[in-house]
């Protein structure tokens, strides 16, 4: 095994070009477990810790440019307003020690369906900025990023440079089921973002299919129902039948397996419950905010 320690992004790209099998390591919270348990012996480890810009973020006009190594703790503490869904998800990651080291880049690089960041990235509509020495930068829409179980759209010579996440234009929520009240890998998870500007709702489901997915049929149904009922304008309470149908469709989007963490049936069921609850929470928040806005204007 060789340990590559690039001091700059350019060096890192060069190293990855030269050694396409090199495994990037940043927080180490996935890679080191695999090494400690003898599940993996990469030829090269590519340490990204020395590249400080990967651990930085910029809040822009419309989006946040999030470095892949920004620890979850920093996301929770600093980006709650801009990225509430991701901040909530960050708070559910493992333990404080892990949140101090791990970042979104690890979730994306590993592309495990259980990664806690995925549902929020999906529901926000993020873009992943990747770069290779040979072909330069490209942006991969999150909807095209996940390719299979633990497979993503990165080429062997590419590294994740940043994640561009649209700033929240409405309430966002994240829920995750685990069989312990802390420090648990998702049995399944659900993220939901209201986008009042476009009058759309986006979702993300974790750990209930070979890859993180969106519940597209549920989104389409809800978008239509909200539009039809004038909900975005009148701020009415969402009817139980709409919430129920949304939950059913979210469940239907799952394609889960039975494993030691949970059964497929339970995952489908739980995703439905979380879909309904996160919809109610975000919608109540949207109505509340609308109320305050109106009061403020008056």
């Amino acid at each position: 095994m060789d340990f590559l320690r690039p001091a700059s992004w350019e060096e890192a790209l060069a190293a990855k070009a030269e050694h396409p099998t090199a495994v990037p390591i940043a927080g180490g919270t996935d890679v080191m477990v695999e090494i400690n348990f003898d599940h993996r012996r990469p030829e090269y480890l590519l340490d990204l810790n020395r590249i400080s810009e990967l651990a930085q973020w910029e809040v822009g006009q419309d989006s946040v440019r999030l470095g892949p190594s920004v620890p979850y703790t920093k996301i929770m503490e600093n980006l709650r307003t801009e990225l509430p869904g991701l901040a909530l998800a960050s708070h559910t990651v493992a333990s404080p020690q892990i949140r101090n080291r791990g970042g979104v880049g690890g979730n994306l690089g590993c592309a495990s369906p259980a990664g806690d960041a995925h549902p929020s990235l999906l529901s926000s509509g993020a873009d992943v900025e990747v770069e290779s020495q040979a072909r330069g930068v490209r942006l991969i829409p999150i909807d095209e990023f996940y390719k299979g179980v633990k497979r993503n759209a990165l080429e062997a010579d590419e590294l994740i440079k940043a994640v561009h996440i649209p700033k929240a234009d409405g309430p966002q929520q994240f829920s995750k089921v685990g069989t312990r009240n802390a420090m648990v890998i998702a049995v399944c998870a659900f993220g939901l973002a209201l986008h009042p500007e476009t009058r759309t709702v986006r979702t993300g489901i974790g750990s209930a299919a070979p890859t993180p997915i969106r519940a597209k049929a549920a989104e389409e149904f809800l978008n239509a129902a909200l539009e039809e009922g004038g909900f975005w304008d009148n701020g009415k309470i969402i009817t139980p039948s709409i919430a129920k149908q949304f939950a059913t469709l979210a469940s239907g989007a799952c394609n889960p397996i039975d494993d030691v963490r949970g059964t497929a049936n339970y995952r489908r069921h739980a995703v439905g419950v979380m879909a309904r609850r996160t919809l109610m929470w975000t919608w109540e928040s949207y109505r509340g905010d609308n109320g305050r806005t109106l009061e403020g204007a008056a």
């Binding site: 340990f3 180490g28 080191m32 090494i35 480890l45 404080p96 020690q97 892990i98 080291r101």
Partner: protein, 197 residues
């Protein structure tokens, strides 16, 4: 490969480090600092918690090569680390609410080398004393990691609620105590810190 970093204020060098070794292994097996514990080596138990540039992390998940040039504080150096903090903030509390040790401050801090290695000369930190007094130590295997995590909690939050304590220590498994006396210990250390102000 060779790795150079600072542990408990003392510059350390490790040679012939296998590239897959963790910081935990290097501390325990190469530097004679076995205080950080090897309970799970998968980031699930927190017994290997150390401060890396001031930040609590699981040392089992930090590759040895990643600590090149960085500062590590282990349980062996905790008493000195806490004493230094007390010097910087007399009374140990922090009314301003900004009492955390910044990374820069942590980097500037240098322990007296002979103290940092053994923890003897500096006596015990308040959290160490509180763990003994409250009966929070049984087998003691989780204790070093809990101490580092709890000390960091009290550094940023001098009056934590029970829920705050539980959240801050949720990454540290203990199999002996049922956690009640660990909560007692953190409350006790916080109360003593408060009295000392």
């Amino acid at each position: 490969m060779r790795v150079n970093f600072t542990v408990n204020g003392r510059k350390q060098e490790a040679d012939d480090v296998w590239e897959g070794e963790s910081l935990l292994y290097v501390l325990r097996e190469r530097m004679g600092l076995p205080g950080s514990k090897n309970a799970c080596e998968q980031g699930e138990c927190g017994s290997c918690t150390v401060r890396l540039d001031g930040v609590p992390v699981c040392s089992c998940l930090v590759a040895a090569g990643q600590v090149e040039g960085r500062e590590v504080v282990t349980v062996e150096g905790l008493a000195d680390y806490a004493a230094h903090r007390t010097d910087a903030h007399p009374g140990g509390g922090c009314a301003s609410g900004a009492c955390g040790t910044s990374i820069d401050a942590a980097k500037r801090w240098q322990a007296k080398p002979q103290d940092g290695q053994t923890g003897e000369a500096g006596g015990l930190s308040p959290i160490q004393q509180a763990f003994i007094d409250a009966g929070a130590v049984q087998c003691g295997f989780c204790t070093p990691g809990l101490l580092v995590a709890a000390d960091e909690l009290l550094e940023r939050n001098s009056e934590p609620s029970d829920a705050d304590i539980r959240e801050a220590l949720s990454g540290n498994l203990c199999r002996c105590t049922g956690y009640e006396k660990i909560l007692d210990a953190v409350r006790l250390a916080a109360a003593r810190q408060e009295e000392a102000v």
